[in-house]
């Protein structure tokens, strides 16, 4: 066991896979010499050389496009988008090629690519730097989209992602890159992608969140406990595939569900989870599924960002409202 934050844990996972599997290569903007703008890939180029860990031009479409070629040819590229908000130039490569290569080639070719990217707000950054666009990718057949919320999960999930033969968007909640420390097991372990994690058992209401929002929900749950409300918390971990079973089981138990997400409200992940609750547990519901989410606007600049972000108070308000419905 070693105490790590999420940055250390991701670095550790990359280090392990680079050492173990010669087909793994890591690249992206500032990933090599600088070690990434958030220092996630620090030290890797020194250790594994410029052939396997290197800087790319400022060209997201090129980064993903070359990764598709390498993957089809047998490598396992792990590429970095510097921010989630920078991924749009690579959109065509991801949707038109990576996501459908297996289908198009009738199973002959696969694209085992991991696209890592920091996402989400709460760090007083600029426009483009705070977005949560997981919904867009969760909607596309042929992609997997996962989000860790702890250092342990980040390491186990990233190793599982690199070992998977699918194209995976590995979204890193940068707000908690360094905000949470945890004892993380040394050596290799994997956490299966697509499995949600019930991190707190409760009886009155289920709250589903992922990434940086999990910590906010945990704080709200403490407030709820003081108010006599028992909250079950599910860390979704995987936007797609989505763990319908865990959600359904929990809602059948509590009769109420709230989702907490950072992205815009309309057509968001919260809407999908609410619908799963309706389909799987309609007869158990005591209140309408509720969504705590961002708004249908661009994430505001630092001064106004707190209006947009979810905090324990907003979440607790919704918990109380739902339980008293």
């Amino acid at each position: 066991m070693k105490i790590m934050n999420m940055v250390n844990a991701i670095n550790d996972a990359l280090d392990l896979k680079l050492a173990e599997d010669k087909t793994v290569i890591v690249y992206g903007q500032d990933v090599g010499v600088e070690g990434g703008v958030f220092r996630v890939t620090e030290g890797l180029q020194k250790k594994y050389g410029v052939q396997r860990v290197f800087d790319s031009p400022l060209a997201e479409s090129g980064i993903v496009g070359t990764a598709i070629g390498m993957a089809v040819a047998g490598l396992r590229p792990v590429v970095e988008m510097q921010f989630c908000g920078f991924i749009y130039p690579a959109f065509n490569q991801i949707i038109s090629h990576a996501s459908r290569m297996r289908n198009r080639s009738r199973g002959k070719y696969e694209t085992p690519i991991v696209i890592r990217m920091p996402y989400g707000g709460g760090i007083n950054a600029l426009e483009h730097h705070s977005e949560s666009m997981e919904t867009i990718f969760g909607h596309i057949p042929g992609l997997k989209v996962v989000v860790p919320s702890t250092p342990h999960d980040a390491k186990g999930m990233l190793i599982a992602a690199i070992e998977s033969n699918d194209t995976i968007l590995f979204m890193e909640p940068k707000r908690i890159y360094r905000a949470i420390k945890q004892e993380v097991a040394e050596g290799k372990f994997t956490i299966p992608l697509g499995k949600a994690n019930v991190i707190a058992q409760g009886t009155d209401v289920t709250v589903v969140a992922y990434g940086a929002m999990v910590r906010e929900v945990q704080k709200a749950a403490v407030m709820a406990k003081e108010a006599g409300i028992s909250v079950e918390i599910i860390d979704l971990r995987s936007i797609y595939p989505i763990d319908r079973e865990t959600i359904a089981k929990s809602v059948k138990k509590t009769g109420r569900i709230i989702t907490v997400t950072e992205g815009p409200k309309t057509y968001g992940v919260g809407s999908e989870i609410s619908q799963i609750a309706l389909e799987e547990a309609f007869l158990h519901l005591e209140a309408p599924p509720a969504r705590v989410s961002g708004f249908d606007v661009i994430v505001p600049l630092p001064k106004g960002e707190h209006h947009y972000m979810q905090d324990p108070y907003k979440i607790f308000y919704e918990i109380e409202r739902t339980v008293k419905y």
Binding site: I123, L126, K174, K181, Q182, E183, P192, N197, L283, H284
Partner: protein, 442 residues
């Protein structure tokens, strides 16, 4: 230094209390043990003593306001300890501040500012993926119903979990809820039509006009009484047996000795004899002195005999307890009754006076009523109701004679006590009362 005194849990799991009266003013000096404030909790009205010597710097809450356990009641300026502790306190935040500054430097990035965890706060480790993780099974079993059926039940004031579902997969349908209102809900019988009508209108609160009613908030004691009564009626299977004890011998015994004991300051009441007779009978029939632990699947038989006495006070019903009544003489019981009823009248009963009862006696006859169906003081197994003592014609030695009769109503929890046991118990009580000399022999 200021000491913040928080409302303590003065009993068993109290959550809140209502301020009745303040005994101190801001700026007033208090000694440890001085009464600060009188609080009404759901069990008692009691004065909270000051935990320290000092001067009242602030008090929180006005009479009538509810204070939660753990909330601040008063702030006390402690005499003499001001200097030293104040310095110690001032030093703390600075050290803290230094640490956070250091941390912020580390978190500064190219874009934005990342929060950095301190070394003191570490998330607990996970073993998922590293070791086999046992899967915990959540418990299901909530009533199935469509939202529209739930809404309907809510509107009608029905707990949907009480309704038996007849729909697909045991689903509670709208018809089930309608059927529930017309059958069996409430104790008042009547035909289904009128019952249904009253069920739907009762939740709205039916009174002619606002001017003709007085609305008062429920006192804590009233709330507790209501909760306990419902709990008892809901959980225990009530069964009541009625009997009469012919107590001419007890009357003459009491009349012979009343004066003598009175001069010793002892009020020799019938209740004292009845308590003694009950305690001795409980020793013979242990089911009546027990409780059922359904969750663990156990019966708990008690080897102590603490008799609660339902007592009418201005504020409402309280049940002080006479401990180990089987070991006390009738005189000692009489003295204990006097002590407890004085305390009850003055509102000075403590939680200790009222806890650990194993059986209850309610003596409504002293006010009026021949027979009543007493509600068990749950989770106890039984309660004995004492009716009004009166003279009436009885048959004695094949002749009509004037007898003195004590009506008794015994309610038991039929889950625990069977009919035979119950009848034998009440016969035993009657045996002691009609031949009171046995009270000192047994």
């Amino acid at each position: 230094m200021r000491y913040i005194f928080k409302f303590p849990d003065i009993g068993e799991g109290l959550e809140e209390g209502i301020i009745v009266e303040w005994h101190v003013e801001k700026g007033q000096a208090v000694k440890m043990g001085d009464p600060l404030v009188t609080m009404e909790t759901d069990k008692v009205v009691t004065a909270i003593p000051s935990p320290r010597d000092g001067i009242i710097a602030a008090k929180f809450g006005k009479p009538g306001e509810t204070i939660h356990v753990g909330a601040a009641l008063v702030e006390i300026d402690l005499e003499g300890v001001e200097g030293e502790d104040a310095i110690a306190e001032a030093a703390l935040p600075q050290a803290e501040k230094k640490k956070t500054e250091l941390v912020e430097e580390e978190g500064a990035g190219v874009v934005g500012t990342l929060e950095v965890a301190g070394n003191s706060i570490v998330l607990s480790a996970s073993i998922e993926g590293v070791h086999q993780v046992a899967v915990t099974q959540g418990k299901a079993g909530r009533t199935l119903a469509t939202p529209v059926a739930r809404a309907m039940a809510k509107d009608m004031g029905i707990d949907i979990n009480q309704v038996k579902g007849t729909g697909p997969g045991g689903r509670v349908t709208k018809d089930d809820i309608k059927g529930f209102t017309s059958s069996g809900r409430g104790l008042s019988g009547g035909n289904s039509q009128s019952n249904q009508g009253s069920a739907s209108s009762s939740s709205a609160g039916t009174f002619a006009s606002v001017n003709q009613v007085e609305v008062e908030p429920l006192s804590q004691i009233r709330k507790t009484i209501a909760k306990n009564m419902i709990q008892s009626k809901h959980n225990a299977a009530h069964m009541t047996v009625f009997e009469e004890a012919e107590i001419s011998d007890l009357v003459s015994l009491r009349n012979r000795h009343k004066e003598r004991y009175s001069s010793e300051g002892v009020k020799l009441t019938y209740l004292a004899f009845i308590i003694k007779a009950t305690a001795l009978s409980l020793k013979k029939f242990r089911a009546l002195n027990s409780e059922m632990d359904v969750e663990k699947g156990n019966m708990i038989y008690k080897r102590y005999y603490n008799i609660g006495i339902a007592t009418d006070t201005e504020k409402g019903l309280v049940v002080p307890v006479i401990r180990n009544a089987d070991k006390l003489s009738v005189k000692e019981i009489a003295l204990e009754i006097q002590k407890l009823s004085d305390k009850a009248r003055d509102g000075k009963l403590t939680l200790d006076d009222m806890k650990d009862g194993t059986f209850t006696i309610t003596s409504y006859g002293s006010i009026g009523g021949l027979f009543a169906v007493p509600v068990i003081n749950y989770p106890q197994a039984g309660i004995l109701g004492i009716g009004r003592i009166h003279q009436k014609p009885i048959v004695k030695d094949n002749q009509i004679a004037i007898g003195t009769v004590l009506p008794l109503s015994l309610s038991v929890d039929h889950r625990i006590a069977d009919g035979g046991e119950t009848a034998r118990f009440i016969n035993s009580v009657i045996g002691y009362l009609s031949d009171p000399i046995t009270l000192i022999i047994d």
